[in-house]
């Protein structure tokens, strides 16, 4: 009876302005649906979520499942996973896409287990191959490689997708979706986790994620003290400072500045990459900058190969020279 092939996009709206990954996924889902004669469905769970229903409708959702209930007023993955599971068991989607945010990844993993299906993490691309298989492209083996993965048997096919992998569609206020309002499953309760309090933190790298100019530092800078100069450079350039994992592990920079698959996803117009080798865990967090300048003693470093301008020199020395030059040019 249910011949329809639906692609679901699960709404993650807690940090709407920082993270529009749900809208990006709706756009990609539309592209996939057109090729497989499917339907793009958004799933909105929570309490007081009408705003998001309108938003998803304007961004390509053809059908929206809305589960709006006081029981769902706390943004808890264990709770949402149970609601999503019951919905998916009823409606049997072909594909479920969830943004690879912290919440999305936790929710997706828990829902996948409950549904007994597979889940691919942090996809950077999705497509349908010539045989009509749903192919998920994701980092593999420590992020040095990309793997293309299919699910031969398990349904629904689930994936989390990194923010910034796709572009959202323009807001279309005239678009109309079929809206289906549902009650939570009878007796819905969470996994026993109680939310005592929650608050939005101050600087958590939102500025970094939205910055038009990012200065990223890697281990090649040499020391914590040398890394600190990047803040001066960032001030002069009107940008934000990002860091690689080795730098964060060495405590040269706060975890909030981690750029990469497990950290912040940045989309700057201009990227300065100083002393960064360019492991894919790091580069996976950078969405096509218009212009990249890399500085590294090793011209063969991946980041140097990716750059528009590769400067072969000591990253710290160049940072200092650049600071002096910018000051001389009156950019103070």
């Amino acid at each position: 009876m249910n011949q329809e092939r639906a692609i679901w996009v699960v709404g993650d709206y807690r940090n709407y302005f920082q993270n529009r990954v749900t809208l990006q996924l709706l756009a990609k889902a539309g592209e996939l649906a057109a090729k497989m004669d499917g339907t793009v469905c958004a799933v909105v769970m929570g309490h007081g979520v009408e705003e998001w229903v309108g938003e998803y409708q304007a961004h390509g959702a053809q059908r929206i499942y809305v589960m709006d209930h006081p029981l769902l007023s706390e943004y808890l993955p264990g709770l949402f996973a149970r609601a999503l599971e019951s919905l998916a068991r009823q409606r049997r989607p072909e594909i479920i896409l969830i943004g690879a945010t912290s919440f999305g990844k936790e929710l997706a993993a828990r829902a996948a287990s409950r549904l007994g299906t597979g889940l691919t993490a942090d996809c950077v691309d999705l497509y349908l191959d010539q045989e009509g298989r749903f192919v998920q492209v994701a980092p593999a083996y420590g992020g040095n490689l990309l793997a293309e993965i299919v699910f031969p048997r398990h349904r629904p096919q689930m994936a989390t997708v990194r923010p910034g992998a796709f572009a959202e569609m323009p807001h279309d206020a005239s678009a109309r979706a079929e809206i289906i309002r549902l009650d939570p499953p009878a007796g819905l309760s969470g996994d026993g986790v109680r939310l005592v309090s929650c608050r939005r933190l101050g600087y958590q790298g939102e500025d970094l994620e939205n910055a038009k100019v990012v200065i990223c530092g890697g281990r090649g800078l040499g020391s914590r003290k040398k890394f600190k100069n990047l803040h001066e450079l960032a001030r002069l350039l009107g940008g934000e400072v990002g860091a690689t994992r080795p730098v964060v592990h060495a405590d040269w920079a706060e975890e909030e500045r981690l750029v990469g698959q497990a950290g912040k996803h940045i989309k700057p117009r201009l990227l300065f990459s100083l002393g960064v080798s360019g492991a894919i865990q790091h580069t996976a967090g950078i969405a096509d900058p218009e212009f990249t300048i890399a500085v590294n003693k090793n011209p063969l470093a991946v980041m140097m190969q990716k750059a528009d301008v590769a400067i072969k020199a000591d990253a710290h020395q160049v940072a200092l020279a650049l600071i002096r030059e910018l000051k001389a040019r009156g950019s103070s």
Binding site: R14, N15, P77, G78, S102, F103, K105, E106, A109, R110, A112, S113, T117, G118, L119, T120, A121, Y141, G142, N144, L145, L146, A147, E148, I149, F151, D191, G192, V193, V196, C198, L201, Q204, G205, E206, K212, V213, G238, H249, E255, A262, R269, A279, I280, F291, P299, K306, V309, A310, I311, K312, A313, Q317, A321, L322, E325, L326, A328, R329, S331
Partner: protein, 274 residues
């Protein structure tokens, strides 16, 4: 109190050489080390042991060399290690992995109070195994934990998820994954090493020992099939500048100053504006 910590051995270098012909990583080219995030999970467990007294059991799934990681964990203060080592377990995705780990908990420490994992391993930062395992075992769980406090059977944790600081409460038994920023691990004491290599500290188990369904473990139990694997195309024909740092910056400004100025929306010419 019984705590189970899952640890993993990962290559000690961030970029492994890759054989383009076979598509395989040359894992043998690198020594292994305890995954840094897992090490922090172990540290969290050892702090609970120091404060409240606990038996800490460490479990790893991996090749024979992963025994090193378990011995290291015992040297740090864990009580016992178990290595799930069986060719049938190889090639597991996170679904098959979490099934196997759940079987291991059932077989080795069914009366556990707390399960701890690192939230992202260094070699595959999926962050999925912890939440999967929580569902397999039907436990209250929280990922990305940075602080925890135990009072009786009530566990209170703090975690940051997408820029929200949350305080969560749950009753034991429970499962947590911890981030790499909290629980800075203690160094391995030299005084713990001899004992860690004694008898009765580390045990090697097969899939059969876990009474695991062969259909649900390893490659056979994995949902995903890799159809292609490749190094991401990085090449972009850029310009190379070299020389002294000062000369490099001069050349950068001379050749790309206008472009940079445009991107920065700033006049970088250094001339007074009319």
């Amino acid at each position: 109190m019984r705590i189970v910590v899952f640890v993993k051995q990962v290559p000690a270098v961030s970029e492994l050489p890759w054989d383009a012909k076979t598509g395989q990583l040359r894992r043998e080219a690198a020594e292994g080390m305890m995954d840094p995030a897992a090490k922090r999970a172990l540290e969290a467990a050892l702090r609970l042991k120091d404060a409240h007294g606990a038996q800490v059991i460490v479990i790893s799934m991996g090749p024979p060399s992963a025994e090193e990681t378990l011995r290291e964990a015992v040297a740090m203060g864990a009580d016992r290690g178990f290595l799930l080592c069986d060719p049938r377990l190889a090639g597991a995705d996170t679904l098959a992995t979490s099934y196997t780990l759940a079987r291991a908990v059932g077989a080795l420490s069914p009366d556990f109070d707390l399960i701890l994992l690192g939230c992202h391993s260094a070699d595959s930062e999926t962050g999925q195994v912890g939440p999967h395992l929580a569902e397999e075992l039907g436990l209250p769980a929280a990922a990305y934990v940075e602080k925890m406090a135990l009072k009786g059977r009530k566990l209170t944790v703090e975690r940051v998820s997408d820029g929200w600081l949350e305080t969560l409460e749950m009753d034991l038994p429970a499962l947590l994954t911890v981030t790499a920023r909290a629980f800075r691990p203690r160094p391995v004491p030299m005084t713990g090493l001899e004992q860690a290599f004694g008898q009765g500290e580390v045990f090697i188990l097969s899939a059969a020992d876990l009474r695991a369904d062969p259909e649900h473990v390893g490659w056979a139990g994995s949902a995903g099939r890799i159809i292609k694997i490749y190094a991401p195309a990085a090449q972009k024909k850029g310009e190379l500048i070299q020389g002294t740092p000062k000369a490099c910056v001069r050349e950068l400004m001379a050749r790309f100053g206008d472009r940079l100025g445009g991107l920065l929306a700033k006049d970088l010419s250094g001339e007074e504006q009319a």
